[in-house]
């Protein structure tokens, strides 16, 4: 009996990750959009055609026109300029707070799911307690302690979103850590930090990336709620969420006040989600082979 195999011909040359990312048109478009949003965030003050606080009461609540692309608000301020400038703070709050939640939540969750035992019990009970408060109430409490402002808003939202990441990461890590390939590594004397880094983390990326995209959207909205309560961005500085809340009173008479900040949130969140999907596919070897096969055709 022979032990040779008839090896099917799979082309095992690999294509660089960025090339694969760029081979997906959806990812390319969403990356371009996200880049534009970032550029706006950095240069908002210079791009904006009007000052964000140039009040013009006689010209209040004007519909979009060539002079004011997105119309004007109840104080006659240019909505387009305010949306542009708000990009900076909204994006900063969303990214920083989700980064805090991501790092803290995933670390705690992965270690809890992998180690189990008393550490897991403690972390998960803490998470349960945090979950039992409404998000805004908990954020309010944290800001009450730290004092209002953009910086504390970011910390507060970060802390409030940590338990979600901890739960998602822990559940996935728990199921991965009993997989035979992790047991094989254990039997070979591979230290736990190495297993966590090389086996557990890469295998939980899919749910964590999805959670990150979702949280970015919710973080923008949470910032809006906090600003509305007068705890986040202080008026007259604009943020997307703040503008949305201010627009509520004019929903019937001035649709442009709510539609444009809303559209800004929508486009940004969508771009984050689509880039996240593209990343997830490239990071998953199975999806990757399909993409490579397509790219080679």
């Amino acid at each position: 009996m022979t032990t040779t195999l008839d090896v099917e011909h799979i082309d095992s040359t690999r294509i660089a990750s960025w090339r694969l990312l760029l081979s997906n048109p959806v990812t390319v478009v969403s990356t371009v959009v996200l880049t534009l949003v970032l550029i706006v965030a950095v240069f908002a003050e210079t791009i904006a055609p009007y000052g964000i606080n140039s009040i013009d009461v006689p010209g209040a609540l004007q519909a979009p026109s060539s002079a004011h692309w997105f119309g004007t608000d109840d104080l006659g301020r240019d909505v387009f300029s305010r949306v542009l400038v708000a990009t900076t703070v909204s994006l900063k709050v969303a990214v920083v707070s989700v980064a805090i939640a991501f790092v803290a939540g995933v670390t705690a969750g992965v270690i809890a799911g992998f180690m189990r035992g008393w550490f897991d019990t403690i972390i998960m009970r803490v998470v349960d307690v945090m979950f039992s408060f409404p998000v805004i109430l908990l954020a309010l409490a944290i800001i009450a302690i730290l004092g209002p402002g953009v910086g504390t808003t970011m910390v507060a939202i970060g802390i409030v979103y940590t338990p979600i990441f901890a739960r998602v990461a822990r559940a996935s890590a728990l199921s991965i850590s009993v997989e035979p390939f992790v047991q094989v590594s254990r039997t070979m004397g591979v230290p736990a930090p190495y297993i966590l880094r090389k086996h557990v983390l890469p295998n939980i990326t899919a749910p964590v990336i999805v959670q990150t995209s979702l949280s970015l959207a919710f973080a923008i909205l949470s910032e809006a709620s906090l600003s509305f309560l007068g705890l986040g961005v202080q008026p007259p500085d604009p943020s997307w969420g703040r503008m949305l809340f201010d627009a509520q009173a004019f929903l019937g008479q001035a649709w442009w006040l709510s539609v444009f900040p809303g559209a800004a949130i929508f486009v940004t969140v969508l771009a984050f989600n689509l880039v996240g999907d593209g990343l997830r596919d490239v990071l998953d070897p199975k999806q990757r082979s399909i993409m490579e096969a397509r790219a080679k055709k």
């Binding site: 009996m1 032990t3 070979m188």
Partner: protein
């Protein structure tokens, strides 16, 4: 005799790929057709298409398949609903997932009766009792209110059969019904289906990758290779006078007692692993409170350098617990195990160590797991997986030395060097198992534990992997602990055999002695459960 199912020119395509081509067969009342082939040969696809159950995305079936005169290929959902369960019953491979865990057995058995026969609850229950009795479930009236998790794998498969025959269908389709079961249970299920068929006169289509099993059940055999029927004849003709090369290869791959022997060894070789009085128990939570399961009871054995110790037993006998204890995945309550170098010196305790010294000892024992699909990290390349132990123990410095070692290891297990770049999903089951073996070899361990390492593979691939293991043992002087439930392959691999039952050592002797004159009742039962070399149909003519 009338044909219950007649299939002609059946073809299946998925997307643009042709999966099954020009398959024709018919099954007569009271007859059994065996369909045999390796995984991916299209066996299941053929039968699913023929019975109208094909639902893979973008799949299309053409040709004709008539059951009692009703055309099933391209039939409407309504027609198929009337046929499934009523005229054709199905038994699938995995008894642990094919029953609904949330419903009692009564609900699941009476479901087809109420759907097709419009029976009342009372009458359906009475029928369910009859069926449970027919499939040999003890105390059926107590069992009706049980849930699937309260049954063993063999019992669950009996329930599946009871559901399949509930409406007295003219045709029973069994898709690898015994593959997930122990050999002794397999023999019981085969007997059960034969008896039921005899009593009820239904036709059976039995799908399996194992010609040994097919020989026990079938009257006719169709051999499938990559979607083509390469041979289709009576079972005796297939066994005695196989025309096709592929059929002969499948015949040769059957594990048979005494067909092949383990490599020659030096009888005076030093002992490498010495296990004394191993005792393991787990705490479990039961409805009546916490209790312990005594998984391994006072088991002792030793393995000599270059030898193979076979550990045999059914599921739940404690085989895997022994492996997990030796590799540190499970803690033992009592007993010890000493590991020596290949020259018999430098003893080190394996079971009762912890911390840093544990890692040093454990890397001298390597393990290959059963499931080739889950024992490799899907996110890491093959090269990463094989080199991992070398990296974490800092055995080789520099990328070049590691790549060389990787290529050397791939070569040892008969895989080309380019495989280092691939990911697990790009490999077949047999190839993955070779990768697992290469990874086990990476640290040059004193002992390799093979825990059902070939149980998930097709027989033909199993034969290749077993041959590879023997070849490596001869070339590198490896020492194996070979854990299996199939005595035939243990016979092929082992120099010594330990038979386990419920955690206790039943018989522990040299392989040649044990197979020549088994002492324990249980060993004899295991031996008699191996499918014989000749098909059952031959017994009548040979006599």
């Amino acid at each position: 005799m009338t044909a219950v199912l007649s299939v002609s020119d059946l073809a299946v395509t998925i997307g643009h790929r042709s999966i099954v081509r020009d398959v024709s067969f018919s099954v007569e009342q009271g007859g059994t057709l065996g369909i045999v082939g390796e995984s991916g040969s299209g066996k299941s696809m053929t039968v699913l298409a023929a019975t109208g159950l094909l639902d893979a995305p973008a799949s299309r079936a053409t040709g004709s398949s008539k059951l009692d005169g009703i055309e099933l290929v391209g039939a409407s959902d309504k027609t198929l609903r009337g046929v499934h369960g009523s005229k054709v019953g199905f038994v699938f491979q995995d008894p642990s997932t094919s029953l609904n865990p949330l419903l009692t057995l009564e609900r699941q058995i009476t479901e087809p009766l109420e759907a097709h026969r419009n029976m009342t609850r009372r009458r359906a229950r009475a029928r369910a009792l009859e069926l449970l009795e027919a499939v040999g479930i003890p105390q059926p009236e107590n069992r009706l209110d049980s849930y699937p998790h309260q049954l063993s794998g063999g019992q669950r498969q009996r329930i599946m059969i009871a559901i399949a025959i509930a409406c007295d269908p003219g045709l029973l389709v069994a898709d690898e019904p015994t593959t997930a079961l122990d050999v002794t249970t397999e023999a019981q299920i085969i007997d059960l289906v034969r008896t039921l068929q005899h009593e009820r006169g239904s036709a059976v289509v039995w799908i399996s990758h194992d010609l040994g099993v097919i020989g026990q059940v079938a009257d006719d055999v169709a051999v499938l290779q990559s979607g083509n029927v390469v041979e289709h004849r009576g079972v005796l003709d297939i066994f005695d006078d196989a025309q096709n090369k592929y059929t002969r290869r499948l015949l040769d791959a059957r594990p048979l007692l005494g067909r092949s022997t383990p490599p020659e060894t030096r009888p005076d070789a030093p002992v490498v692993l010495d296990v004394r009085g191993l005792d393991v128990s787990f705490p479990v939570t039961t409805p009546t409170g916490r209790s312990t399961v005594h998984a391994v009871k006072d088991v002792s054995f030793s393995v000599r350098h270059g030898h193979t110790l076979g550990i045999v037993g059914e599921s739940g006998s404690g085989k895997s617990t022994i492996a997990n204890t030796l590799t540190g995945l499970v803690r033992a309550q009592a007993g010890n195990a000493t590991l020596y170098n290949s020259d018999g010196v430098q003893g080190a305790e394996v079971v009762k160590v912890s911390g840093r010294s544990a890692a040093a000892v454990r890397r001298r024992i390597a393990m290959v797991f059963q499931d080739p699909f889950s024992s490799l990290d899907p996110r890491g390349s093959i090269g990463d997986s094989i080199l991992e132990p070398i990296k974490v123990h800092r055995l080789l410095d520099g990328q070049r030395a590691r790549t060389e070692r990787l290529n050397e290891l791939l070569d040892l297990v008969g895989l080309p060097e380019s495989f280092g770049q691939r990911y697990p999903h790009e490999l077949s089951g047999g190839q993955r198992q070779r990768v697992s073996i290469a990874r086990a070899l990476a640290l040059k361990p004193n002992v390799i534990i093979l825990d059902e390492a070939t149980a998930s593979l097709d027989v033909s691939i199993q034969a290749h992997v077993l041959a590879l293991l023997k070849q490596l043992q001869q070339e590198l002087g490896l020492t194996y602990v070979f854990i299996a439930h199939d005595l035939a392959i243990v016979n092929e691999m082992s120099h010594d055999v330990l038979v386990l039952r419920n955690g206790e050592s039943v018989e522990y002797r040299e392989a040649a002695d044990l197979f020549a004159s088994p002492q324990a009742e249980y060993t004899r039962a295991l031996l008699s459960a191996i499918p014989p070399e000749r098909p059952r149909a031959a017994a009548a003519t040979d006599r």
